[in-house]
Amino acid sequence: MSTIALAAPAAMPGAPARTSGYLVLAPSCLVLTIFFALPMGTMIGMSFMDAQTLSPTLFNYQRFFSDGLSLAGLYRTAVMSILVAVCVTVLGYPVAYYLARSRSRWRALVFALALAPELAGVVLRTYGWLIILEDRGFINDMLTHLGVIASPLPLSKNLFAVVVGLTHVVLPFGILSLTTSIQGIDPNLERAAQMLGASRLAVVRHIILPLSVPGIVSSLLIAFTMAASAYATPALLGGARFKVLATMIYEQVLFYIDWGFAAVMAIALLIMMLMISFLGIRYEARRSSRRSNREGGAS
């Protein structure tokens, strides 16, 4: 694509080059229109429609803000997604650092292990967690047998279980984005810092962490959006006791057949994710422009 855009002006200067540049984008624009813009438009349209009469109404929005349950669902979704984003990034960082820097022969193995869960599929992995965390699951069984506890710990059907399950599902994506970012940091910077007397910890704190902020931000964003839009894991591990927007939307569509209200909840979810992404991207843009635009008083 860029080759054409760059090469064309030399051959035939002026407008034709530009048109051919845009022409290349046409297929992807078409695909996006059909599979993204159209459903999106339909959904927004439905949110303003009464379920029975199909006449325009603001009722769905009123209900979302007044029934209490919906806002609580939004809040739970936000809390869950933030926790998952933080867990994924914190747990993924050391692995990513190892993957980015190690030259040991175990590296390939760790890399495979870090990404292998992705091959198992979401549902399978979530069932795995269910078996471990259930009231009559592995952990509770063992602790009861050992006599540590009398009644099962509340390990499933709650925020904890969902965050654990989602962290596991999303972790590989966080690791990938962090690894890429850390790989982009010149290893000589770490050596330079060491030569200047910085301990391993100081190197991480003063060099690696600040320079991998773009990776941290993107890991947080990816994990947040993946968690907020996840359905299977919250459905299985949260169940009816811990409902998030994704499971509530599903419920509206399948059990209540209220497409309009489901659309409003979907839009709320979408807006939340867009806002978070926007904040993250703006933060990153500000940070990098601060660094490159500032120029001191040269003599």
Partner: protein, 360 residues
């Protein structure tokens, strides 16, 4: 207590069984500017990394100020290192970069400020303190890297080809500056380079490395004048290297029969009959006028000019003195009236003291 800042004692290093540095013995006295000179891949960076602590020797011992550095991590060796690609911290201003070392040592803020100012002044970069590295030219970044390394006043500064990314003019200017800074701070400099001119220009001592071992070490002038081996003669400066068929030690001079020719050269060098090659620097060969007989004991060779190359300050002649044997001769351009025509016959004069015997 000895006065060596750095000592390498029979140091060897191999990577996955492949020897890269072999049995290196090196002593670097306090306050000296020592260059490690060698072709690409000879193990210079590996050696420097062992001194810095990033590589552990496979065998032998690295000592800093008399103390073995075995198991001492780089951050506790109190050495400075300037990288080829500068490795400035992109998220810190020049001031923060230069102050980093002192900050890590827990120096009080006010002192850091003063030390940073002093370091920036010594590399002539005052006024650039609030810039980020991105907003500096390559030469300026180089100076910041130097300032950052010297600000904590390490006892020894290691430099790994620090000038190789600069253009020729700047490189030549920086050579002089580096030497001045080193003398001012009275710091030991270990300077790694593959540029023999650079090493010549700055060093108190040059260590020529080849294939992971020291080929020769000594003062720049003595290395240039008396290269010990074929490799050194070839790598340091330009030279005519001739294979010797037979050498006849005499009471005052050594007679060398040059391989494949009838030529016999006299040399002042002490030598035995096992000598296999000798070297003659192109600038030590004189063009003799027909009338000019030259000094008494001089070697005289007749030859035909086969090629003339103008190098600016010098004119380089390729003179065929025998079938299959040509000598390169350098004539200063200021004496261009002496330069003969192409294909003309000339007489070359070579002082016996300029015929250097090589051990190989």
């Amino acid at each position: 207590m000895n006065s060596f800042d750095i000592e390498l004692v029979s140091v060897s290093k191999s990577f996955a069984g492949i020897p890269v540095v072999q049995d290196l013995n090196l002593q670097i006295p306090r306050g000296e500017f020592v260059s490690i000179l060698g072709p690409s891949g000879c193990g210079k960076t590996t050696t420097l990394n062992m001194i810095a602590g990033f590589n552990t020797p496979s065998a032998g011992d690295v000592r800093v100020r008399g103390k073995s550095q075995n198991r001492i991590p780089p951050e506790r060796r109190n050495l400075g290192l300037v990288f080829q690609n500068y490795a400035l911290f992109p998220h810190m201003t020049v001031i923060e970069n230069v102050g980093f070392g002192l900050r890590m040592r827990g120096t009080p803020k006010a002192e850091i400020g003063q030390a940073v100012d002093a370091a920036l002044r010594s590399v002539r970069l005052d006024g650039f303190g609030s810039r980020y590295p991105k907003a500096l030219s390559g030469g300026q970044q180089q100076r910041v890297a130097l300032a950052r390394a010297i600000a904590p006043r390490p006892s020894v500064l290691l430099l790994d080809e620090p000038l190789s990314n600069l253009d020729l003019k700047l490189r030549e200017a920086m050579r002089i500056e580096l030497k001045e800074i080193q003398e001012q701070l009275d710091m030991t400099f270990v300077y790694v380079t593959h540029d023999q001119e650079e090493a010549m220009a700055m060093s108190d001592r040059i260590v020529v490395m080849w294939q992971g071992a020291i080929a020769q070490q000594g003062e720049p002038a003595s290395i240039y004048r008396n290269p010990a081996t074929r490799f050194v003669a070839d790598f340091v400066g330009r030279s005519n290297i001739l294979s010797v068929r037979r050498s006849i030690p005499g009471p005052t001079v050594l007679e060398l029969c040059i391989d494949g020719t009838q030529i016999v050269l006299r040399s002042d060098c002490a030598g035995n009959s096992a000598v296999q090659s000798c070297c003659i620097r192109p600038e030590s060969i004189a063009l003799l006028n027909g009338s000019d007989a030259g000094a008494g004991g001089q070697n005289r060779l007749d030859g035909v000019v086969r090629r003339i190359v103008n190098l600016g300050a010098h004119v380089e002649l390729l003179v065929e003195v025998a079938n299959g044997l040509s000598l390169t001769v350098l004539v200063p351009s200021s004496r261009s009236s002496l330069v003969p025509e192409l294909a003309s016959t000339v007489t070359l004069g070579i002082d016996p003291q300029d015929v250097q015997v090589l051990s190989d």
